[in-house]
C-alpha cells in the first residue's frame, strides 16, 4: 500500500474512537430499581433507587459498603424525572441497566402503556427489566430495607427470578408484555408484590390480572398463578402445590399432599358453534411427583390411584375457579382471541373485543399421573 494512503488511514483511526458517545461509569449513577405511582391528585410520582458503593476502610482488606438512596419526585412524565433527578445528584442518572420497574396499584388501574413509552423509544432502554404491580405504592416498596438484601433493586429482581423458576410467575419484562398488551385477542398478568410489614420483607401475593393495558383490580394468589401457568403448558424448574385431599383427619397436616409437577401438556381445542359462539375445551395432563404425604400410605396401586384421582379432582376444581375469575375480569390469559383470529377470522371481526372472553364457554379438565413418590412408600 502507498505510504500517504496508509498514513491517512492510520490517522483516521483517531476519529473512529467514538469519544462523542462514550459513557463513563464513574460519571453515571445506575438506577437499578424504578417505581411509578399516581398520587391522590393524579400526578405522577417517580421513585428511583440508586446504589452507592463506598470503600468502608479497614486497612488491608477494605470492605465495600453499599447504601441505597431513594429519590422520589412528582413529575409530569417519567422522562422528566431524569432531568429533575439530575439536578439533585452529583453524577448523572442512567437507567439503561434498570432491573425492575414497579407500577403502583393506582397507576396500573389506569393505562400503563403511556408510562412505558420511554423505554420502548430509547435505543438504550432497558427492555428486559422485570415489571411488577405493587400493592399500594411502589414508592413504599422501594423503601423497604431488608437486612440480608440491602440493595432493593437486586432484591426485587432476584425475587422475581426465583418466583419465575418456581413457576409462580411468568417472566414479564417490558418487551415481552408488549405483544399481549397491544393485541386485542390476548391479555397478560404481572407479579403482584406487597410489603410484609411484620418481617420487613417483600412478599409475592400472586399475579395481577390485566385487560388491555389496564389492571383489572383482581389478582390470583400464588397457588392459582402456578396452576394458571401449568394450564398454559408452561413449567419452569419446579412447580409445587399443596393440595387438600381430605378434611376428616384429626391432625390437620394429614389432610394435605404436597406435589411437584414434573411435566405439563396442555391441549386446547377451540370450536365455533352455529351461533358463532366460541367454545374452548382445555385438557391438561400433568406428570406429578409426591413430595410430601403426611398420611403416609402409598404401597399399593390402589392407594396410588385413589390419591391420583383426588389430586386430579382437586386441581380441576381449582382450575375452574381460576377460569371463573379470569372470565369475570375479561383477562384472556390464554390468548384465545388470537386463536379465534387465526382460525376463525371472519367470526373474530364480528366479535366484541372488549368482552369476548367473558362470553365464551370454557371447559377445563386436569388429569394427573403419578410419576414419582420420593424414596419411601
Amino acid at each position: 500500500m502507498k505510504k500517504p494512503l496508509a498514513l491517512i488511514l492510520a490517522l483516521s483511526l483517531f476519529v473512529t474512537t467514538g469519544c462523542w458517545d462514550q459513557v463513563m461509569l464513574k460519571d453515571e449513577n445506575l438506577a437499578l430499581a424504578v417505581g411509578f405511582d399516581l398520587t391522590n391528585k393524579k400526578e405522577l410520582n417517580t421513585t428511583i433507587a440508586i446504589p452507592y458503593m463506598k470503600s468502608g476502610g479497614g486497612g488491608q482488606s477494605p470492605s465495600i459498603v453499599t447504601t441505597v438512596q431513594i429519590l422520589s419526585m412528582k413529575t409530569r412524565t417519567p422522562r422528566q424525572a431524569r432531568v429533575k433527578i439530575n439536578n439533585e445528584i452529583a453524577e448523572s442518572i442512567n437507567a439503561t441497566k434498570m432491573l425492575s420497574l414497579g407500577l403502583g396499584e393506582k397507576l396500573a388501574k389506569t393505562h400503563i402503556f403511556p408510562y412505558l413509552d420511554l423505554f420502548y423509544r430509547d435505543p438504550r432502554g432497558s427492555l428486559n427489566a422485570y415489571l411488577y404491580v405493587a400493592k399500594g405504592h411502589a414508592f413504599d416498596l422501594l423503601k423497604v430495607k431488608n437486612p440480608s438484601n440491602p440493595r432493593i433493586g437486586i432484591y426485587l429482581s432476584k425475587m422475581l427470578k426465583s418466583t419465575n423458576e418456581a413457576t409462580v410467575t411468568q417472566k414479564a419484562d417490558i418487551q415481552s408484555i408488549c405483544a399481549d398488551m397491544m393485541d386485542p385477542g390476548a391479555d397478560f398478568e404481572l407479579p403482584y408484590i406487597e410489603i410484609n410489614k411484620k418481617d420487613k420483607v417483600l412478599s409475592l401475593k400472586g399475579v395481577a390480572l390485566f385487560h388491555g393495558d389496564t389492571y383489572t383490580g383482581a389478582y390470583l394468589n400464588t397457588e392459582q398463578s402456578t396452576m394458571l401457568l401449568l394450564m398454559k403448558g408452561l413449567k419452569e424448574i419446579t412447580a409445587r402445590q399443596t393440595i387438600q385431599i381430605a378434611d376428616h383427619n384429626k391432625m390437620n397436616v394429614k389432610n394435605y399432599v404436597n406435589i411437584d409437577v414434573k411435566n405439563t401438556h396442555a391441549h386446547l381445542k377451540l370450536k365455533m358453534d352455529k351461533n358463532h359462539r366460541a367454545k374452548v375445551n382445555l385438557l391438561v395432563n400433568l406428570g406429578i411427583k409426591v413430595e410430601e404425604y403426611p398420611h403416609d400410605q402409598l404401597f399399593s396401586d390402589k392407594q396410588k390411584n385413589a390419591l391420583n384421582k383426588k389430586i386430579s379432582k382437586q386441581l380441576t376444581l381449582q382450575s375452574r375457579q381460576i377460569i371463573k375469575i379470569l372470565q369475570k375480569e375479561n383477562c384472556d390469559a390464554f390468548a384465545i382471541g388470537r386463536r379465534i383470529n387465526a382460525f376463525h377470522h371472519a367470526d373474530w371481526i364480528k366479535m366484541n373485543k372488549k368482552h369476548y372472553f367473558r362470553d365464551l364457554t370454557f371447559n377445563v379438565t386436569i388429569k394427573t399421573k403419578l410419576l414419582q413418590q420420593g424414596v419411601t412408600y
Binding site: 494512503l5 488511514l9 483516521s12 476519529v15 473512529t16 467514538g18 462523542w20 458517545d21 435505543p123 432502554g125 427492555l127 428486559n128 419484562d173 418487551q175 415481552s176 408488549c178 405483544a179 399481549d180 397491544m182 393485541d183 386485542p184 390476548a186 390468548a335 388470537r338 386463536r339 383470529n341 387465526a342 382460525f343 377470522h345
Partner: protein, 366 residues
C-alpha cells in the same frame, strides 16, 4: 473492457450480488411491508423476489447480446451516441445516488441506534473511507473481500434463530388475511428497494468468466438466496411482534434482539449491528465502484481508481451538507424507488426491445 484482465468466477459473482443486495434496508423491511399487508409480508417478499427473477432475465437477455460490453458501451450502440451519452450520465447519477443513499441510511441508523452524539459527518466519513479503500481495487479483489465477509452473515442468522425461542406462530394466521392482491403487490414494491443490487449484472457481465447461462444461473441463485434470507428474517419479525406492534417498530429486525441477554452478553442488537455494518458497507462499495467505472468510461480513462476519490468526495459532500430529517429521508427513498425502478426495469427493457428491433448485436470482430 481491457483484455487479459482477470475475470470473476461465477461463484465470486454470486457473493458480489449477495453482499450488494443485502444491506441497510432489510432492518426496516418487515415494518414497511407489514404496514401494507400485515401478516402476509413474507408473501410480498416472495412476490418481489419472483419479479426480480423476471427482471434479471430481461437484463440477461440484453447483456448476452453484447458479451464484451458493459451497459455503458451497449447504450451508444443501441441508441446512438447523443442519447447514449445522456443515459450514461443518468446511470452514473443513479449509482452515485444509490451510494449516497446507503451512506445516509447508514448514518441515520448509527445515529438513532448507537451514536446519538457523534456528528453525522464523522459517521459518513467512516463508511466512505472504508468504501474508498476497497473500491480502489479491481472487482476481483473486491469479490474476494465479499466472499470472506460473507462468513459473517452466519452470526446474524444464528442470533435470529435464537429469537425463535420466544415467538408465536399464530401471528402468521390467517394466511391471506392481510389484504387483497393489489395490496400484496404494493407491499412487494417496498421489498424491491431492499433487494437492489441484481442490476450490477448490467455492468459486470463482461467481467464474469464462463458462458452466458452460467452467468444467468449465478444471478438467479444469489437473488434466490437473498429472497429466502429476507423472507426468513421477515417471518421471524412477524412471529416475534404482534401485528399491532410491528407497525410501530421501524426496525423490527434490530429491535427484536434488544430484549435478549445472555449471561455474558447483553444488548445482542449491538452485536448484530456491528456485524451488519459490514454488509451495509459492501453495498456502498459496489455502487461506489460502479459509479467510478462509469465516470472513467465517460472520460475515456483506462483505470477507475483515479475516479474513486472523486465519487467518494461527492458522496461525502452530499450526505454531510444537508441536515436531513427522517421525513426527508423517507421522501428521498420514495423518489429513489421510482428512479431505481425506471433505471433497472424500464430502461433495460426498452434497450432490449430497441436492440431486437434494430437487430443490434455485438459484432464478432469487436
Amino acid at each position: 473492457m481491457i483484455r487479459g484482465e482477470r475475470k470473476l468466477t461465477p461463484a465470486q459473482y454470486v457473493f458480489i450480488l449477495i453482499q450488494t443486495q443485502i444491506g441497510v434496508s432489510i432492518l426496516a423491511l418487515p415494518n414497511e411491508t407489514a404496514q401494507i399487508v400485515h401478516q402476509d409480508s413474507w408473501i410480498a417478499i416472495l412476490i418481489a423476489g419472483f419479479f426480480i427473477q423476471l427482471d434479471i432475465y430481461i437484463i440477461w437477455a440484453l447483456t448476452r447480446r453484447f458479451p464484451n460490453f458493459t451497459l455503458y458501451e451497449i447504450m451508444p450502440v443501441v441508441l446512438g451516441k447523443p442519447l447514449g451519452k445522456i443515459l450514461h450520465i443518468i446511470y452514473i447519477l443513479y449509482t452515485l445516488s444509490t451510494a449516497t443513499l446507503v451512506t445516509i441510511l447508514f448514518t441515520q441508523l448509527m445515529n438513532t441506534w448507537i451514536f446519538s452524539n457523534t456528528p453525522n459527518f464523522v459517521l459518513n466519513l467512516l463508511i466512505i473511507l472504508v468504501g474508498l479503500y476497497i473500491s480502489l481495487n479491481s472487482i476481483v479483489i473486491m469479490s474476494r473481500f465479499y466472499m470472506f465477509v460473507s462468513l459473517l452473515l452466519l452470526v446474524p442468522l444464528g442470533l435470529s434463530i435464537y429469537v425463535l425461542t420466544d415467538v408465536n406462530w399464530m401471528y402468521l394466521l390467517p394466511v391471506g388475511g392481510g389484504g387483497s392482491f393489489t395490496k400484496l403487490f404494493t407491499g412487494s414494491t417496498k421489498a424491491l428497494f431492499s433487494m437492489l443490487g441484481f442490476e450490477t449484472l448490467l455492468f459486470l457481465y463482461p467481467h464474469i468468466a464462463g458462458n452466458s447461462f452460467a452467468k444467468l444461473k449465478a444471478t438467479l441463485v444469489s437473488n434466490g438466496f437473498v429472497t429466502l434470507f429476507y423472507c426468513f428474517l421477515t417471518v421471524i419479525s412477524l412471529v416475534y411482534f404482534s401485528p399491532e406492534e410491528i407497525v410501530i417498530v421501524p426496525r423490527p429486525v434490530l429491535y427484536m434482539l434488544k430484549e435478549f441477554s445472555f449471561s455474558l452478553l447483553e444488548r445482542t442488537d449491538l452485536l448484530f449491528l456491528t456485524i451488519w455494518v459490514i454488509c451495509i458497507t459492501t453495498s456502498f462499495m459496489t455502487y461506489l465502484y460502479l459509479s467510478s467505472t462509469g465516470l472513467a468510461n465517460l472520460l475515456n480513462k483506462k483505470s477507475h481508481s483515479k475516479m474513486v476519490p472523486f465519487t467518494a468526495g461527492i458522496c461525502l459532500i452530499v450526505s454531510s451538507v444537508f441536515e436531513v430529517s427522517e421525513g426527508d429521508i423517507e421522501l428521498f427513498t420514495k423518489f429513489f424507488t421510482y428512479f431505481a425502478f425506471t433505471m433497472i426495469f424500464i430502461v433495460p427493457l426498452l434497450l432490449l426491445i430497441m436492440a431486437l428491433l434494430r437487430r443490434k448485436k455485438e459484432s464478432k470482430h469487436a
